[in-house]
């Protein structure tokens, strides 16, 4: 049975710290993924889905190769990763704070949260 969540404002963990949030983290540098996963585990996020992705800029660039013809056959080596995790608002806020502390600004992944209205199959 789907679990219903009360209406809440995203980004207001103080009001509903146990309310659920979907945390998105976009890592454009695959090398930083290892650090990110370690950080998530340290922050108590023990479940997440990692999706291989590609930025729009990379797609635009790949549509117009100048010298990088063979690189078209190496997609996995230059792609980004999107980490998605359903967690509590408070924990999501903690993760965002940790990302700010642990990563320098130029290396910092993009991260944001959205509220979860209903969920199925996940314990938050």
């Amino acid at each position: 049975m789907a679990e219903e969540r009360p209406e809440q404002k995203a980004g207001s963990p103080e009001a509903e710290p146990r309310a659920a949030a979907l945390l998105f983290i976009i890592v454009s540098d695959p090398g930083a993924l290892d650090r990110l996963i370690t950080l998530l585990l340290d922050m108590g996020v023990t479940g997440a889905t990692v999706i291989e992705s590609k930025g729009m800029g990379a797609i635009i660039r790949e549509e117009m190769p100048i010298f990088s013809g063979l690189a078209a056959l190496l997609p996995a080596r230059t792609g980004s990763r999107v980490v998605v995790s359903a967690t509590s608002q408070q924990r999501a806020a903690d993760v965002l704070g940790a990302l700010e502390r642990e990563f320098k600004e130029r290396d910092r992944p993009i991260a944001f949260t959205t509220a979860i209205g209903q969920s199925l199959g996940v314990q938050i």
């Binding site: 540098d29 695959p30 090398g31 930083a32 800029g57 635009i60 660039r61 549509e63 117009m64 190769p65 100048i66 010298f67 990088s68 013809g69 063979l70 690189a71 078209a72 056959l73 190496l74 080596r77 230059t78 320098k104 130029r106 290396d107």
Partner: protein, 426 residues
């Protein structure tokens, strides 16, 4: 001061011209054609060059040889890093076939055109003096432009597969082109009096030196990447150092920087235990900026006084491309029948000159500055322009027939079986 201002101007134009704000404009097909070949930037370089506005002089560009060699080294390293053993071994048969046929057809034809054309044009009969221009035109003739978006009429599977073959075979041919240029340039050396001569012994030593340099660079890169941190700044430092080292050493060895750097990239990418993903990504991110810089410099170095003989030579090269390049894709289609159903305009994509030609020609001007080298660069540019225009005109005139007007069920079954085998092999 003039040199500094020229660098600043070119760098600013390159960064502005490749900024994200122009992404939407670049998706327009006419603009994509103009950009992929560098034509807009070559025109801009000619406008800024000594013959029109005079904002950048050819002498300044020649004085900035170390920086231009650096840019050529960047291109070479980028190309070499794509030559991973595992990737090359797993290339589809259609890609290998297209490249081999391109080599087999282009080298003799463009060799003859180059030898006869430059010989008649310059009146030169000494083979040593003709070998380098001939090698230049052969290297510039190999391969093709790897950009296909501007020519894809549809988004069907056949167009997608052919685009991949064009890109991968173009990349492979670029490696062959730079290798041929590097070997040819190494075999032609200047003696103590400054005269060009063929010297197999010295050439072999130069080539061995390039290979040794590549191995040293690979070892240094491995050490440097282990010591460096993971940040972009660290990678930038390592990268700049490697490119500067290999480019400078190549110039001192008497070898083209683009060739030596390509060898270094090939060694680096095939060394075990090195994490190169971020390194490669960094290189690829700057691909367009470096291409714009080289195109602007090519425009500055143009010498339009090629006369009727030079124009005929350029026309010969353009028509030569039209004569032999479609054959490469036809040969590939024999192994993958689905390629035959690709759109007409895409089937002529191989006629378009490779951007590597511009890099090789600019390197030639820097290595052997003379009126002839500037004019040969102009010939390469004009041939490239013709090679862009001919497919566009031909596709408008030709009827939209597939590569093979008849296919049999056996040929289709053979192609499907071949494609399935390739999929399993990967």
């Amino acid at each position: 001061m003039e040199g500094f201002l020229s660098i600043l101007l070119v760098a600013t134009l390159a960064i502005a011209g490749t900024s994200r704000s122009l992404d939407r404009l670049r998706r327009s097909r006419p603009i994509a054609v103009l950009i992929s070949g560098g034509w807009i930037w070559i025109a801009l370089g000619a406008l800024l060059g000594p013959r029109i506005l005079g904002a950048i002089s050819a002498e300044i560009v020649l004085r900035l040889t170390p920086l231009v060699a650096f840019a050529l080294g960047w291109v070479g390293l980028m190309i070499g890093l794509q030559a991973q053993r595992s990737l090359l071994a797993s290339l589809p048969a259609a890609v290998r076939r297209a490249t081999l046929v391109d080599l087999a057809l282009t080298i003799p034809l463009f060799g003859v055109i180059g030898l006869v054309g430059v010989g008649l044009w310059s009146g030169e009969r000494d083979l040593a003096l003709l070998a380098t221009p001939m090698g230049l035109l052969v290297a510039c003739g190999l391969g093709w432009s790897m950009e296909t978006r501007s020519l894809r009429a549809g988004r069907g599977e056949s167009d997608g597969r052919l685009s991949l073959v064009i890109r991968a075979a173009g990349g492979l041919a670029a490696i062959a082109a730079i290798s041929i240029w590097g070997i040819g340039a190494a075999l032609t050396q200047r003696d103590a009096a400054g005269a060009l001569r063929m010297d197999a012994g010295l050439g072999a030593l130069t080539l061995l030196g390039c290979v040794g340099l590549a191995v040293v660079i690979g070892a240094l890169a491995r050490l440097a990447l282990q010591i460096a941190g993971g940040s972009r700044a660290d990678l930038l430092t390592v990268f700049l150092g490697l490119v500067a080292l290999v480019s400078g050493a190549a110039v001192n060895l008497g070898a083209p920087p683009i060739f030596a750097a390509m060898l270094a990239g090939m060694v680096l990418t095939n060394l075990p235990g090195i994490e190169l993903r971020r390194f490669e990504r960094f290189l690829l991110d700057a691909e367009h900026v470096v291409a714009v810089v080289l195109a602007i410099l090519a425009g500055v170095l143009l010498d339009p006084s090629i006369g009727a003989a030079g124009a005929l030579l350029a026309a010969g090269l353009g028509l030569g491309r039209l004569a032999v390049k479609p054959g490469s894709l036809l040969a590939a289609a024999r192994l993958d029948p689905s390629l035959r159903r690709a759109s007409r305009s895409l089937r002529l994509a191989s006629v378009r000159q490779s951007p590597v030609a511009l890099a090789v020609a600019v390197g030639f001007v820097l290595a052997a500055p003379s009126a002839l080298s500037h004019q040969l660069l102009t010939v390469v540019v004009v041939a490239g322009l013709l090679s862009e225009a001919i497919p566009l005109a031909a596709s408008a005139l030709l009827s939209d027939t597939p590569m093979s007007t008849t296919t049999t069920p056996d040929m289709d079954r053979e192609g499907n079986a071949s494609a399935a085998h390739e999929g399993e092999a990967r």
